[in-house]
């Protein structure tokens, strides 16, 4: 009888310790999850900022200004254009 009781006591202690560890683990994992969620949000915000930046750099007016000014480009003149292909008009 006493042996059984001792055994049960040991099992109980083990279970109690297990509960504590698993709760600790759960909390740790949860706080990791929280951190990752926060990171996901941050990255999303960053993505938005980068999109903004990309749109600002790629503004049509700016591209045109640089193409004309810094690169000396100009729209193709009809006189200097040759069409190639199936339904080329000349």
């Amino acid at each position: 009888m006493a042996k059984l009781n001792l055994l049960l006591l040991a099992v109980l202690v083990a279970c109690a310790l297990g509960l504590v560890t698993s709760q600790h683990k759960a909390r740790k994992l949860f706080s990791n999850l929280e951190r990752e969620h926060a990171r996901a949000r941050e990255l999303d915000v960053e993505y938005g900022r980068l999109q903004l930046e990309a749109s600002t750099w790629a503004l049509h007016a700016r591209v045109e200004r640089i193409a004309k000014g810094a690169l000396g480009m100009r729209p193709a003149d009809a006189r200097r254009t040759r069409l190639a292909g199936r339904d080329a008009s000349r």
């Binding site: 915000v45 903004l52 009809a78 008009s89």
Partner: protein, 575 residues
């Protein structure tokens, strides 16, 4: 040794019993107390316990982005900080006060006054929506009583180019105008909340329950093409400035899908900084403003004549002597001619011709056509403030009204309605439903006139942009163009202003297989020129040329340079 000293001292029995009773009572009290706490007061106590460590926190939802048809961002919300203070807690050294005021962009004296004025309040916004760097600098000052909380702010990289289509949001990130308002429900998202357990340091250690899941706003992809939009805005702005006009509008519609590829207004505003914006700048004229279209309506009269079977494209109308008097009102032509064919009525933009044709047709049929091409009904764009236009019921029409309506007076509509109506000629008689949201699919149209009629009118519209027509300046190299000018007197105090006009041009290309309808309107052009053919048509040509190249539309004409016509080659018009 006495017996008392030798033997055990016998205590009275009652003392043991007394102790037992006291102990039993103590247990009883404990038991009752535990029953009381566990069974009766449990809710209250648990609530108190939760209040110590469990918290309900808001989960913010971000507003959806607005993208153009190629996926480029047109509007993005990004978090910024708002600076607030508890005025009575604020302690500023002289140095801190100077630095804080500089960061907030105000005078140190103003800052002190602002804090003093609000001394009795618990909450005062010092400045809302400051950029992250400024917020960081304010945080490093570590002024007691000054706090920050995150808010969202909307940025529009396109600035004034896309201002009217997108509209803007208020300081609380809610839509107030344009697409931002029209699609508020899907863009906004719903903030959620959840209950968590926090530890002593404020870290969340356990998620108890999610009360409401946060729903982020859905991204919205518009039909607008960023490049084409920018091209259209640039060309329109240039033309409005060059002709010293009051305002202008342009809209480009994809013929196949009914998508609006570009929609711009001048004057515009910068949605990122609306401090000095006036109502006139914010108005989206293309959609919300009505104007009398003038001659751009003639092709519809001609289409109706062809549909009636009583006229053919070659039928000649006697237009001598270039005037027509009805009901005390005289209709005039700028170029009087003895007689004109139906095609020439469009080409030369003859008011007398159009009026005579209209008077030969039943007014009910004319009203029915106008109604079916969407005049008098607001286009189903879901855009706030879309104007329906004015189309009076035909029973009230007098002959003079029917005659003037034939060339676009006595009826008013918005530019977007006019552009949509022209899809009739571009799509072989079908009217296409418009969309501001990307569909990417061919839209089913509603058949309004026969294919033959539509093609016949299209051929006439092609003549109108040839030398001898009203708009040779609308031609472009490499593609055949068709279109019609309008030069309408502005309405003023119930009459027409003699020297104030609205110049317009509506057209499409390539004429062999139309892909794009573009409508341009210039309000009160000054600087000497006011004809639709000289003011509005060049804008059309510039945007159409760029658009067809961007869209990779095959050429249907030789790539010869377009020779600009002499003044003599260009027909004038008075509506």
């Amino acid at each position: 040794m006495s017996a008392a000293a030798q033997g055990l001292v016998r205590l009275p029995v009652w003392r043991a019993r007394f102790v037992l009773a006291v102990l039993a009572l103590a247990f009883g009290v404990l038991g009752a107390r535990s029953v009381y706490l566990q069974a009766l007061k449990t809710d209250f106590l648990q609530g108190k316990g939760d209040a110590r460590y469990s918290r309900v926190i808001e989960v913010p939802a971000t507003r959806g982005r607005i993208l153009d048809r190629n996926g480029d961002a047109l509007a993005v919300s990004t978090p910024v900080q708002s600076i607030w203070a508890i005025p009575s807690d604020v302690e500023l050294s002289r140095e801190q006060r100077r630095k804080l005021a500089a960061l907030l962009g105000m005078e140190p004296a103003d800052l002190s006054r602002k804090l003093a004025d609000a001394a009795s309040r618990d909450f005062l916004y010092l400045k809302r929506q400051v950029p992250p760097e400024t917020a960081h600098n304010i945080a490093t000052l570590a002024v007691p009583g000054v706090y920050q909380h995150p808010e969202y702010r909307r940025y529009y990289p396109g600035g004034e180019v896309t201002a009217h289509v997108l509209g803007f949001t208020g300081v609380d990130d809610r839509g107030q105008e344009g697409v931002e308002l029209a699609h508020e429900a899907t863009l906004a998202g719903k903030p959620g909340s959840r209950r968590v357990i926090k530890d002593r340091l404020g870290h969340i250690v356990e998620d108890v329950e999610s009360i409401r899941a946060a729903q982020d706003g859905v991204d919205l992809q518009l039909s607008i093409d960023g490049k084409l939009q920018s091209l259209a805005y640039g060309a329109l702005k240039g033309a409005v400035e060059a002709s010293r006009a009051r305002a202008g509008g342009i809209v480009a519609i994809d013929v196949r899908s009914g998508e609006i590829l570009a929609l711009a207004n001048v004057p515009s505003f910068n949605p990122n900084n609306r401090a000095k914006v006036t109502g006139a700048q914010v108005r989206n004229r293309v959609i919300t403003d009505l104007f009398e279209p003038g001659s751009t309506l003639k092709p519809f009269t001609i289409a109706l004549a062809l549909e009636s079977g009583r006229f053919a494209a070659s039928t000649r109308i006697a237009t001598a002597p270039g005037t027509l008097a009805i009901g005390g009102y005289t209709i005039r032509d700028v170029h009087p001619a003895a007689s004109l064919s139906l095609a020439q009525v469009v080409q030369k933009s003859s008011n007398v011709g159009a009026a005579k044709i209209a008077l030969a047709l039943p007014r009910e049929a004319m009203w029915d056509l106008f109604r079916r091409v969407g005049f008098g009904t607001a286009p189903a764009l879901g855009f706030p403030g879309a104007a329906a236009g004015k189309l009076h019921p035909y029973r009230s029409w007098k002959p003079v009204e029917q005659a003037t309506m034939a060339y676009g007076h006595g009826i008013s509509l918005s530019l977007v309605q006019l552009a949509r109506a022209y899809t009739l000629f571009a799509r072989d008689g079908e009217l296409v439903p418009l969309s501001l949201v990307k569909t990417g699919a061919v839209a089913g149209g509603e058949k309004v006139i026969s294919t033959e009629t539509a093609r016949a009118v299209r051929a006439m519209l092609e003549l109108a942009v040839q030398p001898g027509g009203t708009a040779p300046r609308a031609r472009i190299s490499g593609w055949r163009v068709a279109g019609k000018t309008g030069t309408a007197h502005k309405q003023e105090n119930g009459g027409y202003a003699a020297d104030r006009y609205i110049a317009s041009f509506v057209g499409f290309a390539p004429a062999s297989d139309p892909r794009l309808v573009i409508a341009v309107m210039i309000d009160e052009p000054g600087a000497g020129h006011y004809y639709g053919g000289t003011v509005a048509a060049p804008v059309f040509a510039q945007v159409m040329q760029g658009a067809l190249r961007l869209m990779g539309v095959p050429h249907d004409a030789p790539l010869d340079p377009v020779l600009m016509p002499d003044e003599a080659d260009e027909a004038r018009e008075s509506t």
